[in-house]
Amino acid sequence: MKCRTCRGPAIIELPRHNANFCAEHFLQLCRRQVEKAIHDHDMIQKSDRVLVAVSGGKDSLAVWDMLIELGYQADGLYIALGIGEYSEESREYTERFAAERNLKLTVVSLRDDYGYDIPTATKVTGRVPCSACGMSKRHLFDKAAVDGGYDVVVTGHNLDDEAAVLFGNALRWDVEYLARQLPVLPSRHGFPKKVKPLIRLTEREMAAWCVIRGIDYIVEECPMAEGNRHIGYKEALNVLEEKSPGTKASYYLGFLDRMAPVLAPIAATGADSVTPCVQCGAPTGGEEGSVCAFCRLVERSAAHEPVSVELVRKKSRSQKRVQAGAAKK
C-alpha cells in the first residue's frame, strides 16, 4: 500500500478519498482540511484570541494541537465533570498535553466551584446524563469566553459528530435544530462566537492524528454516555460509510451547501427574545426576570447529596431493561 502523494509506504487508508497516505502526507491532508473549514466558513482570524473547549479526548486535543501548529493563539478550558475515574484520567491527559507544550489551560471544577457533579445532576433531573453535562459545559464555556475576553470558542466536533446530530434531527424532522446546525454560531446577545474546525475530518482521522503526533488521550468511553442514541446514529452511519465511502461527508457537507441556505430564514427567527438571568447575568431565552437553566440546575443539584457514577449507571441500565421489556410486550 503506497502513499498517494509520495509513493512511500502508507500507514493509513482513507476509502472516502480513495487513497492511502504515509504519516507526513496524512497530517498534511488533515491540516488542509482544517484550514479549508476555517477559511470557507470564516471561523477564526489570525489575530483572534481563541478558547478551545478541551475534554482530554482525541478531538479536542487534536484541534488544539492543529490550531497551535497553524499559528493561532489558543488557550484551553477544561471542565472537571466529576464522573469518577473517567474525569480524573481525562483531566490528567489534558493537563499533561498543556504542560508539555507550555499552553495556557484553565480548569473549572463543577464540584469545587459549583457544588455538584454530573452524576448528581443526572439523578436530580431524572434526564439522560448527556443533557445536564452538555448544558453545564455550554454555559461554562460561554462564561469563560466572555469573562476572559476571547473572540471565539473552538470545539472538537468532527464530521461524525455533525453527521450523527444531523441524522438524529432529520429522523425527528426537528426543523429548528436543523436550521441551527451550522459550523459557526456568530457572537450575539452576549453569547460568544463558536466554531467547529474539524467538520471536514472523521473521528478515525482524528484518532490517527493523535497516534501519529504522539498525543495521549482518553480512549475509554465516558461511562455515562455508554449506549446513548448519538453513538447508535454514528454506528448506523458507519455501516453506510463502509458500503459507500464518502457517505458521511456528502451527507453533512451537502447539507451545509444545499440545505442550510434553504433553512436560513428559520434559523434567523426566534433568536431575539433573550434576557439576562437574574442570578448570573448570562443570556437566557426565558422571560424578563427569569433564572437561566444552568442556575436552576446548580441550585437543585448542589442541594442534593453527591451521587456516585455507579449508582446512576445501574439505574440507567435497569430503566433500559424495563423499557426494552415494555417494547417487546
Partner: protein
C-alpha cells in the same frame, strides 16, 4: 499474536498470521470505527500480522455531544 481491545480494556490471543483487515472482519470490528496500532505506529489494512506481534485495536467512536 496478542491483541489489546478497549471499551472494556482486555487482551485476547489470536493464533496464526493474518492481514489486518481479515483480523478486523474476524472480530466483527468495522474498519471505519477502529485503528490498528503496533509499537505506537498505525498499520494499514493490507499489512500482514505475525504470530508474535502485539497489537492494539483502538475504537474511535466517542459519545459526547
Amino acid at each position: 499474536m496478542k491483541v489489546l481491545l478497549r471499551n472494556p480494556r482486555r487482551e485476547i490471543e489470536i493464533e496464526g498470521r493474518r492481514r489486518v483487515h481479515a483480523l478486523l472482519a474476524e472480530l466483527g470490528l468495522p474498519r471505519e470505527s477502529h485503528l490498528v496500532i503496533r509499537n505506537g505506529t498505525l498499520i494499514p489494512g493490507d499489512e500482514e500480522l505475525d504470530k508474535d506481534d502485539v497489537i492494539e485495536i483502538r475504537p474511535v467512536i466517542s459519545g459526547g455531544f
